[in-house]
Amino acid sequence: MSLLIKGGRVIDPANGIDEIMDIFADGGKIAEVGRDIEKAADRTINAEGKWVMPGLIDLHVHFREPGYERKETIRTGSRAAAMGGFTTVCCMPNTNPVTDNDIVVEFIKLKAERAGIVNVLPIGSLTKGMEGEVLSDIGRMASAGVCALSEDGKSVLNAALMKNAMRYASMFDLPVFDHCEDPSLTGKGQMNAGAQAAYMGLAGISNDSEEVIVARDMILAESTKTPIHLCHISTKGSVTLIRQAKERGVRVTAEATPHHFTLCDEDIRDYDANYKMAPPLRSREDREAIRLALKDGTIGVISTDHAPHHVDEKNCEFQKALNGIIGLETSFCLAHTELVLGGYLTPSQLVEKMSTNPGRILHNGKGTLSAGADADITIADPNEQYTIDVDDMVSKAKNTPFGGREVKGRILYTIVGGEIVVDGGKLIKK
């Protein structure tokens, strides 16, 4: 099938492009990007007034399969991804069983092939069972096709083991995605420490719980000369540490989530657990530091940490509720509204954070509209204004605090390997 996208604002930072152009795709690949392409195509999309971007890439999602299918599955999660404009997503290994061996990796790949509608890439755990004691079958998982390694929701607390994991991973050229949290400092904390926690009577989680591991693991990256990617950075102090490390040449990249650049702890209301996540929503000052870090490039990636949970796991005591919110279907509109319209990012920088840079970290040829690349393309209307409606979401889970929020920017087309999976804002495959 061939596809011609006419007259859109093509934004492809990898090639320094931000201008009105056409794109011709054929056989699942980008064939040509240029002005006034006149070619016969099976399908022509008029993209005038729209943004045409390399398919969005999310380095950090939870599709819960195998093990927690009542929260989400690869089928439902990949549909949520498509609706959010994502053509590639990376699934964290906190499945049941844990993705710590090639058999689980093969299972996820099989499910993705059968039921997925976007590129679903498994991430393997760093240690067996995510227990922080012995390394997972990293080499075998590399052969089976993991895109990265991560201990997901925890840090490997034994520094020597973390150091070994980083060195071992580098042998297979696998990026390491690092959740930074010292649980002894988190303690029983339920939300950001500070005035709002004091007001609500919830135990606080101080910024240092994140920062001590950010510092430690950047030191390890430096000593081992390996790269490290820091997940969902949430504090001003972490931003400062990352900036300093980058200046001295540490190979560190970092991501921020839409909820951490959109909300802060003052937004938490009525013990509503849809505002509960790890790391927690931080202070107003931290939020501003995250936005500025995105602006100056200290944080180069936006990831959702899409964390679906069943309603029963959220409609309960705040302390009992599980951490995390869904994010795939609201990531682009929030990033566009808060960061581009908010004056922090240019459209091109936004695409960099949501496609180009994550593609570079995965180094799999994604995140660009270069001729010859996979025809993963996302088209959005930056001007469409609407209210987020949780009932419209296709994720199996509904745990989000963003219902009812006014945003601007809607995904209209998601094209994966030349195939249209979201067409005019509607899911093609049910």
Partner: protein
Amino acid sequence: MLKRKDLLGLRDLGRDEIIEILDTAKEMKKKIDNPALRDCTLGKSSIITLFYENSTRTRMSFMLAGSYLGGIVQDLGVAASSVSKGESLIDTGLNLDKMGVRFMIMRHQMTGAAAVLARNVNASVINAGDGTNEHPTQALLDMYTIRDYLGGFEGLKVVILGDISHSRVARSNAFGLVKLGAEVTLAGPSTLVSGSMKSLGVNVTSDIKGALADADVVMGLRVQFERQKNMPFPNTREYSTLYGINSSMLNYAKKDALVMHPGPVNRGVEFASDIIDGPNSVINIQVKNGVAVRMAILKLLYEAGASTDR
């Protein structure tokens, strides 16, 4: 008039609502000593106490308060109920609702649990302590006692001492007393009192003598050993040396300062025994006032419900 379904905390209560509860409690108190005055104010309403945490005073005080006003009072023995089989709080509440329960009085180890229950059931929920959040009836009985002895709150210097960071009593008192014009100081070791509490409009200090200077009220809090994982002080001996109140420490406060404690007391830790049993102590009076305050709350919530045609 108190116009609300639930009583979850002093954070949400207005100044007038607090005064109304205290005024009503004054009437109610007569029923404690004179059984002839006990009546059927609550019209045989069902009252269930649900205590997910242990309690002597609060639970018994609520049960008696309900009985003195003609309620049908039952305790859901949480340990022996389906809660131990893993039934959720919301499901437990919905079941009790269907049995015709008019009041659910709950103590729970998690902050916000009372709020979660309240928004899921028709019954009136009274918070008898939730996590490290609030213990509104304790603060109201403390305020009743303070007003009874000292006549009011405006300009009073109230010092709350001890394990502030784990204390729902300190928080509820802070919310209530600040609203009524008292000057509240929270004092304790730096590991047990957080500077972020200042945002509640109180003073925060680790200087115990400075805090006690000219205090009208000295309220001690129990050190909650069961809530400590990483001990915030070396041992109880050191704690009582530095932060325990004995008669020489009490000299820093006003001569007639009220000595209060929500109980249970660790004798010799936060207060020396001669302070607990001494002339300034109103600790046992507080307990009596607790029954009166709880009667008042039941009565007012019952009337609020009747007037809004539940």
